[in-house]
Amino acid sequence: MRKVLLAAMALALLGCQSARRGEPVIGPVTFSEKESRGQVLFDRHCHKCHTHGEGGLAPSINDKPLPKFMMRLQTRVGMGAMPSFSREQISEEELDALLEYLVALRRAGR
């Protein structure tokens, strides 16, 4: 438990890279077919608060090194002001694609 918490703090401190991923800023990014489906889902469900993944109403997520299982958990249960998303709103298959997109987007900033 303590190791995980220390890792969490370390990861939080590491999350200081720019969250910007737009084509004008980092150039074109090529996504797989699954990641592209994930982008459409992101833009439908997430973009409004985590605008372009950079943040807006809500925090940025492009620069947060959360593992997929944690993002999945947060999406399903919600946290603080963030609402939860049921399987009726985003199916498991759709969430897989969405998380693949987010990981690809995060990687694109390196």
């Binding site: 438990m1 995980v4 918490l5 890792a7 969490a8 703090m9 990861l11 939080a12 999350g15 720019s18 969250a19 910007r20 737009g22 084509e23 004008p24 800023v25 150039g27 074109p28 982008q39 459409v40 833009d43 439908r44 973009h47 409004k48 608060c49 605008t51 372009h52 950079e54 943040g55 807006g56 109403l57 809500a58 925090p59 940025s60 947060k64 090194p65 959360l66 299982f69 944690m70 958990l73 947060q74 946290m79 603080g80 002001a81 963030m82 609402p83």
Partner: protein, 478 residues
């Protein structure tokens, strides 16, 4: 396993930050010392595109249109949030010094302009005399096609757009945030001038009779106010409010010769940008609810709609096609919202695209040139948030041009300031964009003109617009 879940939640909370505890950091929450500096190199674009300044020193510009010779003309609003009245003007941008073509009355803001049949058509917001649709001849003569539109409130008469049927399409935004006149409208300024003004439905509606208590800003003590009635007036369950046209929160159309406006669609909050798509349909950007006033709504995005004639789009009980009773729209620390209408006129459609909360998605146009690229996609100017007046944001939202694939709702950044963080130049540094308010292609389709309203600061007291800081930009490819 349990420790893993707990750790995950701690980690997620650490990385996500706490919305409640963090202060607002909107794009307008900054300082400005004139003059505005300009450097096109500070604007980021996709590879192969370039941007340049066409005109600067404009005061509250809101729209651009092109005459028969292809010359750009800009409208200056003549009014800005912050209760700043100037003179609305139509300017020809011909060389380095703009030439005044026409000037309007103290009844701004002029919110947009279109050109057809040898004349300009302007949407006059109508803060003092009500909204109007104006026809401006090339010699500057102004004729009103429609007058006394109900737009004295928070939002105005917007547009116009020329339809494939030759009709002049325009919109009227709602008077309030979410149907109830309150203290926020007093802060805007109009409630002092028009204490009886309120939202007007386009069709008869039946109320649930919810009333909202607030400080009595027009007298002493407390006031109770219902929906679709003047400040301090209560409503009861089952009460019917008569509909009429023209009305609040709706798309209308009128003949280029004038006459009685016809209703096209309603239930829209602030439908600002208008353009006809390659499919011949009318598309509209709508500014979503704010977290303010007697009935605050949280977390509702701006959206791009494809307009179906006759449809109801959900205001004041739906957002982005979803019921406002959804817990997602409950402001933190407050109760879940209740519906104002006892019966809804229909099921709202689904939006074409869901844009950022408080992005202020405004004027837009569709690319039709293969040389420019992205044919069929909508290029939308995002004015940017007005936090904290409209609600808290953790990062600036908007302040850029995005392109939207209307076939699947994908949103891509197209033009924005360079740097590690997005936002207006006054916030993030450099000398690039401030507040893009309209985007329109020239007649060739090869150049995208972006109207930049200029510097508009925000604090808890409201907007502080800076005259003479507006810019017209041009984006080309190759």
């Amino acid at each position: 396993m349990r420790a893993r879940v707990v750790s995950a939640l701690v980690l997620a909370a650490t990385l996500a930050g706490c919305y409640i505890l963090r202060p607002s950091s909107g794009g307008g929450q900054t300082d400005f010392t004139p003059p505005r500096k300009l450097n096109a190199a500070d604007v980021a674009l996709p590879p192969g595109y370039r941007i340049e300044v066409v005109a600067s020193g404009l005061t509250f510009p809101t729209g651009v249109a092109f005459d028969a010779q292809g010359r750009p003309h800009v409208v200056e609003a003549g009014y800005s949030y912050g209760e700043v009245f100037t003179t609305p003007r139509l300017l020809r941008i011909d060389g380095s010094t703009p030439v005044e073509v026409a000037r309007g009355e103290k009844n701004g803001p002029w919110t947009g302009v279109a050109y057809a049949n040898g004349a300009f058509y302007v949407a006059e917001g109508g803060q003092l005399q009500g909204g109007r649709i104006l026809r401006i001849a090339p010699d500057g003569r102004i004729t009103a096609l429609v007058e006394k539109l109900p737009s004295h409130g928070d939002h105005h008469t917007n547009g116009p757009a020329i339809g494939p049927d030759g009709q002049i399409y325009f919109t009227v935004g709602v008077a309030t945030n979410s149907g109830v006149v309150g203290e926020d409208n007093f802060q805007f300024g109009w409630l002092k001038r028009f204490p009886q003004f309120h939202d007007i439905p386009c069709r008869d509606i039946e109320l649930n009779g919810h009333n909202f208590e607030s400080r009595n800003v027009l007298g002493d003590g407390r006031a109770n106010t219902g929906a679709f009635v003047p400040f301090g007036t209560q409503t009861r369950a089952g009460q019917v409010i008569k509909g009429q046209v023209p009305c609040s929160g709706a798309v209308h159309r009128v003949s280029p010769d004038g006459g009685q406006p016809q209703l096209v669609a309603w239930g829209l909050r602030n439908p600002f940008g208008m353009a006809f798509g390659p499919d011949g349909a009318l598309y509209v950007t709508e500014n979503g609810y704010d977290d303010r006033g007697s009935r605050p709504v949280w977390g509702t995005p701006d959206v791009l709609w494809r307009i179906t004639p006759g449809a109801w789009y959900g205001w004041p009980d739906y957002a982005e096609g979803q019921p406002i009773t959804n817990s997602d729209y409950r402001p933190p620390g407050k109760s879940r919202l209740q519906t104002l209408l006892a019966k809804h006129p229909g099921q709202p459609p689904k939006p074409v695209a869901v844009l950022g909360v408080h992005a202020s998605a405004n004027g837009f146009d569709f690319s039709r040139s293969a040389a420019f690229g992205h044919v069929g996609q909508a290029f939308i100017a995002e004015f940017g948030d007005e936090a904290p007046t409209t609600g808290k944001v953790l990062h600036p939202v908007g302040f850029r041009v995005v392109r939207v694939d209307v076939t699947n709702g994908r949103i891509e950044e197209f033009a924005a300031n360079k740097g590690d963080k997005a936002g207006p130049a006054t916030k993030v540094g450099g000398a690039g964009l401030e507040r893009p308010v309209a985007a329109r292609f020239d007649p060739s389709g090869n150049a995208l003109y972006v109207v930049d309203f200029g510097v508009l600061l925000q604090d808890k007291q409201g907007a502080k617009p800076q005259a003479g800081t507006g810019v017209l930009w041009r984006i080309t490819r190759g």
